[in-house]
Symmetry: D2
Subunit: 130 residues, 4 copies
C-alpha cells in the first residue's frame, strides 16, 4: 500500500456508473490513468501523446468499496523509477475504495516493440521519492 | 444561444479522446449530462436516481471546435421550465466549442410511459430564470 | 426518416447502460459512429484514421424507446452525397428506438480548418443511392 | 493461462480506441465483463441485474499486444466454481493480446456486504469444467 501523496482527485460522472448504481470496475482504470497523467505533468513531463508512448503492460486492482455519484475519488500514488511501476490507493472521504498497481513500458510505435525509458524521463523522475 | 450562467465545469479525461486526439463527439453528451445534474443539484433537487427518472427525449448539438486533453470545458445553460428544455453553450477559455439543446421528459418506469413533471419539481424550478 | 438499408448491427454492452438500466443517451452517438464506419467500409473507403479526418459537425437525435442489455440495435442509414449528411433509424426487433441526423465535414488537421471533401471520396460515394 | 473454450467474441468499436490508435487499457475490463455475462448466459443464469449482484473484487491483467479498429477479440475463459474466479485469454487472429484473472463476490446490496454465493448458482455452475 502506498503512503504516497495525493496526486489526483477525480470527480465521479453519471456516465461512470453502471446499472448497479456505482462506478463500473473498468472506469477505475481510467481514474488510474488520470492519476498517471497528473503525476507526469507534476514532474514537468509534457501532457499529451508524447507522454503516452508509455503503454500500460499490467494492472492489478482490488476493489474495496463501491463508489457513487457525487463522490470525489482521491488517488495517492507511489512511483518506482526503476521499473516504471506505480502503486495507487484510492479513497473517498478517507475510506479506501480500491488499491492498485500498474507497470508501464516505453513503446516505440515505429518499431512496434518496447524500448528503454528515455534518459530525459529517467533524469526528470530521478528526484521523485520512490 | 444561451446567455445563461456557467452551471458546470468539466475536466477533459484522456479516455474522452479518440484517435484524432480530441474529445469524441459522443462524450459531449456526457458533458451535457453532467451540466444537467449540476443544475438540478444547484436547485436543491436531489442528485441520483430520483432525478434521473427524467429521461432525455432529444438532443441536438453543433460542434464548433475540437477540445483537447488538459482543457476545462465550461458549460453555461439556460433552462426552460415549461417544456423541460435546456440550452447549453460549451466554451474553452472563452472560445465556443459546442452549443446544444436537449429536451427531457419525466418517465414513469413502472408504467413504462412519459408522465407529467412532478409538481414539487415544477415548484422548485419556478424561480429559475427561464 | 430514412428508408435506407441496414448498414450496421450493434450489440449492447453492459458498460453501455447507466443506472437506469438502459443504454445511456451518449452511447447512441457511438452507435451512429459505428454505423458511419461500417458504411464507409462497405463503400471501399479504408477504415481507420484516414477516414476519420471526417469530423462530426452536428448531430440531432430523438430517443423513442429505452434499449436494454442483450438487445441488438439495427441501424439503417441514408447518406446524402452532397452535404455529407447521414440520416439514421435505430430499431430493436422492428421497434424504432431512435432516429438521428448527422452532418460531417472534412477537416484538415494540419491547417486546422474544414476543407472540401476529397475527390476520390466523392467519386466512390457517387454511386451510393442518396 | 486458460485452455478454456471461447466464450465470447467482442467487436472493437472506434470509441474503444484512445489517441494512440489502439484499444484503451480500461476497455479491456469491459471486454472481460462481456465475457462473464456471456458465460453466465450460457449456463442458463439470467442476464441482467440479477446476475450482477456479483461484484468484481479483483482484476489482474497483462497487456501483450495492441488491439486495433476492425479487429475481433476472442475471449477464452476458465471458471473456478470454488472461488468464483475467472481466467481469461484474449486473442486476435490467434495472437494473444492479453490475459487476465478476476475474482467475483456475491454482494448483498441491502446489507451492504459480501455474502455466500447463492446455492442455485453454485448448483447450475457445478457442471462447468473448472
Amino acid at each position: 500500500m502506498p503512503e504516497g501523496v495525493v496526486i489526483h482527485v477525480e470527480q465521479v460522472r453519471f456516465r461512470d456508473l453502471d446499472p448497479m448504481g456505482h462506478v463500473n470496475n473498468a472506469v477505475f482504470l481510467t481514474y488510474l490513468e488520470q492519476a498517471r497523467i497528473a503525476f507526469f505533468e507534476q514532474q514537468g513531463l509534457s501532457v499529451g501523446l508524447e507522454d503516452m508512448n508509455l503503454v500500460v503492460a499490467r494492472v492489478e486492482i482490488d476493489f474495496r468499496a463501491p463508489v457513487r455519484l457525487g463522490q470525489e475519488v482521491e488517488i495517492a500514488g507511489r512511483f518506482g523509477t526503476k521499473s516504471f511501476d506505480f502503486e495507487y490507493e484510492l479513497t473517498v472521504e478517507g475510506e479506501i475504495v480500491a488499491d492498485a498497481k500498474s507497470v508501464q513500458v516505453a513503446y516505440d510505435y515505429g518499431r512496434g516493440e518496447p524500448v528503454a525509458i528515455p534518459p530525459e524521463w529517467r533524469e526528470k523522475l530521478s528526484g521523485v521519492p520512490a
